[in-house]
């Protein structure tokens, strides 16, 4: 149980800056997800926390104690690797036993034959066995303990790897994309299990993933990283609803948020696709980008119209791809009711509520909006 504090972490590989000054504080008992596209530096950051990679500058504090220069083995963190990194020659039991044996037995006691003769070894092994059996029961892997990793399925290996991390009660758990090698169904299942594990252990979890769905469903807080910078951190709802940067808005949410080109007038009004929205802002006049989540697009009514170019019916919901008439813009609307789908190539009117609009400047920063009225933008505005 620990809080982890990162200050001004920088890291470069061969002159390429991978991390450009990360400041972040992870509270005790938090389930924090580091998300971002490949190459954004999230795994490197995790490895720096673990101590597997030294940072070029900046400091890592665990429970207020600086750990820079302290070996990974002495930081008392547990890590679950993407490939699980189980020792292939050891049974599941022995794999889970490794961290305990490394800590509780002396180097001499670990010797294969001689060690068994030492007086204290038997009692210690008994304790280790009891601990592992307890963990195995929690993870439901008791029948698998005698098998080698090669004889286990992906999900089972995953559990053994988690068991190996849990068994010594570390200060914090580090996960490096642990579910990415599993098939889709198992991933959803393991997602729930990990979240439940976190609730039960109440330990600090740092979870790296490129899958925003994993981050959204499990974490208490999400930290979005892009290009070596931590752009935004917040609860899943905050990140989803109030993205501070267009890259965050586009990365989180599936299908992707719709982005339309807009224009801020001198009086603070906003035009998009030839229509004035019922909202104002304080930003300087110029180009801007309007982002609306697919589920906030309302089909059937509204000031805009588009042609249906593609339909994706998932059974419980459907995605309608529209080409906005008169512009090259494309957008996606989510329909909760799949019984009334528009026909392909038909023209559909659409609109969205003013409070569904998130606006970003050309650099991608969020622009605060004031909604003029709670009324929806249905009719073409009269200017």
């Amino acid at each position: 149980m620990a809080q982890i504090e990162l200050s001004a972490i920088r890291k470069s590989f061969d002159g390429t800056d991978v991390l450009k000054g990360i400041d972040f504080r992870i509270a005790d008992g938090e389930f924090i997800s580091l998300v971002g596209p490949s190459g954004c530096g999230k795994s490197t950051l995790l490895r720096i926390i673990a101590g597997l990679e030294p940072q070029n500058s900046g400091e890592v504090h665990i429970d207020g104690r600086p750990v820079d220069g302290i070996r990974p083995s002495a930081r008392n963190l547990a890590m679950v690797f993407q490939s699980y990194a189980l020792y292939p020659h050891l049974s599941a039991f022995d794999n889970i036993a490794v961290p305990l044996r490394m800590r509780r037995l002396s180097a001499i006691e670990r010797l294969p034959l001689l060690g068994a003769l030492l007086p204290g070894r038997r009692a210690k092994e008994r304790h280790i066995r009891a601990d592992i059996e307890g963990i195995a029961e929690q993870l439901d892997i008791t029948p698998l303990l005698r098998r080698k990793p090669g004889q286990l399925s992906g999900g089972q290996r995953q559990r053994v790897a988690v068991g190996r991390a849990m068994v010594r009660e570390p200060l914090a758990f580090l996960f490096d994309e642990p579910l990415s090698n599993l098939d889709a169904k198992l991933r959803v299942h393991m997602r729930a299990e990990l979240a439940e594990l976190h609730r039960r252990l109440k330990a600090t979890f740092v979870y790296v993933t490129h899958d925003q769905a994993e981050a959204m469903t499990m974490s208490s807080r999400i930290a979005v990283m892009m290009g070596g910078e931590l752009i935004q951190a917040g609860t899943p709802a905050e990140i989803y609803n109030e993205p501070g940067d267009i890259r965050v808005a586009e990365f989180i949410g599936s299908p992707k948020i719709n982005v339309l080109p807009g224009r801020i007038r001198k009086d603070g009004g906003v035009d998009v696709l030839g229509t004035t929205l019922k909202l104002t802002c304080n930003a300087a006049a110029g180009d801007c980008r309007i982002a609306v989540r697919p589920e906030r697009i309302e089909l059937g009514t509204g000031p805009f119209s588009g042609t249906v170019v593609h339909l994706e019916n998932l059974g419980a919901e459907a995605f309608v791809h529209l080409a906005v008439e008169g512009t090259g813009s494309r957008l996606i609307a989510r329909l909760a009711d799949v019984r009334h789908l528009p026909a392909m190539a038909s023209s559909v009117a659409f609109g969205f509520a003013s409070d569904a609009v998130r606006m970003f400047d050309p650099a991608g920063k969020r622009i605060e909006l004031r909604v003029e009225q709670a009324e929806r933008v249905r009719e073409p505005a009269h200017v």
Partner: protein, 315 residues
């Protein structure tokens, strides 16, 4: 394939008719299978099994190289062999050579591979240097070693004298000759073993070391015990067996440097075979020595396949 389908067919269909048709179908497939195996089997017969059978047959004769005829004399060659003190000396020397050279070459090869692997610069240079003895002709190298080990102006004795230690007549002294040859044998085998170990080391996933580090294996020795050594298991088995077989075959250094002397202290199996077969032309007797040699090599191979079966495989 055909086996499987036949058993399943027989188990599923208890009626006589299906049973009668199945073997016919199966035998047709068997013919095809034999036809496909024939080229490889013929090659094996001509190149490996034939000569082997020839050597075994020869060991039961009194054939002499170039003689117009020969007679079957049963086990007489073996009786002579087992009664011959030189044979037992050769066998003892060969085993001593194997027992010294195999661990020496394996441990040194592994140690050098680990050093090269953990080094940062000049890796390929070191690799080349240690691999040179493997590429060089041992006969030529033996001449160099003869100079190095020369009692008067040899480099080794020069260094010993420089350090104030007593010098030895390495190859001319009964008590040191075999060990000198062992040292040359290790020197020659280390490079090859090192390359095999290096290949094995490269294939160990880096994440295992990281997991070991996280799990608390902070010392190099702990990580070696936990990850490197078990992961090198298959390579080590292979290296031990190959080194073993090659050590049993030791001949060139013995032939060039000592000719089995002084007073048979470096006489080894293959050298005995060579002297009997090509200097005294007792081909039958030499064949008997060869058979003994083959038995040992076969034993080693069996041990290896047993170990391989016992599951040093990982997925």
């Amino acid at each position: 394939m055909s086996d499987g389908s036949m058993t399943i067919g027989a188990a599923v269909a208890p009626t006589g008719t299906t049973r009668r048709t199945l073997p016919a179908h199966g035998s047709r497939r068997t013919h095809a299978a034999y036809a496909l195996v024939t080229p490889a089997a013929a090659l094996m017969l001509v190149m490996l099994l034939g000569p082997l059978a020839g050597v075994i047959a020869l060991s039961f004769t009194d054939y002499q190289l170039g003689a117009p005829q020969f007679a079957w004399i049963g086990l007489a060659n073996y009786q002579d062999l087992f009664a011959d003190k030189v044979f037992w000396t050769a066998l003892r020397n060969t085993l001593a050579y194997v027992v010294i050279v195999v661990p020496g070459a394996v441990i040194a090869g592994l140690a050098i591979a680990l050093l090269i692997q953990s080094g940062t610069s000049l890796r390929s240079l070191y690799r080349t240097i240690y691999f040179l003895p493997v590429m060089a002709t041992l006969i030529a190298m033996a001449v160099v070693w003869e100079f190095m080990l020369h009692p008067q102006f040899g480099l080794v004795n020069g260094m010993l004298r420089g350090a104030g230690l007593p010098a030895f007549a390495w190859l001319q002294d009964r008590s040191t000759a075999l060990y000198a040859l062992c040292a040359i044998g290790i020197w020659q085998a280390v490079g090859f073993n090192m390359v095999l170990f290096l290949a094995g080391l490269v294939s160990i996933p880096k994440q295992l070391y990281e997991a070991a580090e996280i799990d608390g294996a902070s010392s190099g020795w702990a990580r070696f015990r936990l990850v490197t050594w078990p992961m090198l298991g298959p390579v080590t088995t292979f290296v031990v067996v190959i080194s073993g077989i090659r050590s049993f075959q030791v001949f060139d250094t013995v032939h060039v440097l000592t000719k089995g002397g002084p007073s048979k202290s470096t006489e080894v199996l293959i050298h005995s075979m060579y002297t009997e077969g090509f200097e005294f032309f007792r081909s039958g007797y030499a064949a008997a020595i060869t058979v003994v040699f083959l038995v040992f090599v076969l034993l080693l191979t069996l041990i290896k396949s047993r170990l391989a079966d016992r599951g040093v495989h990982y997925t």
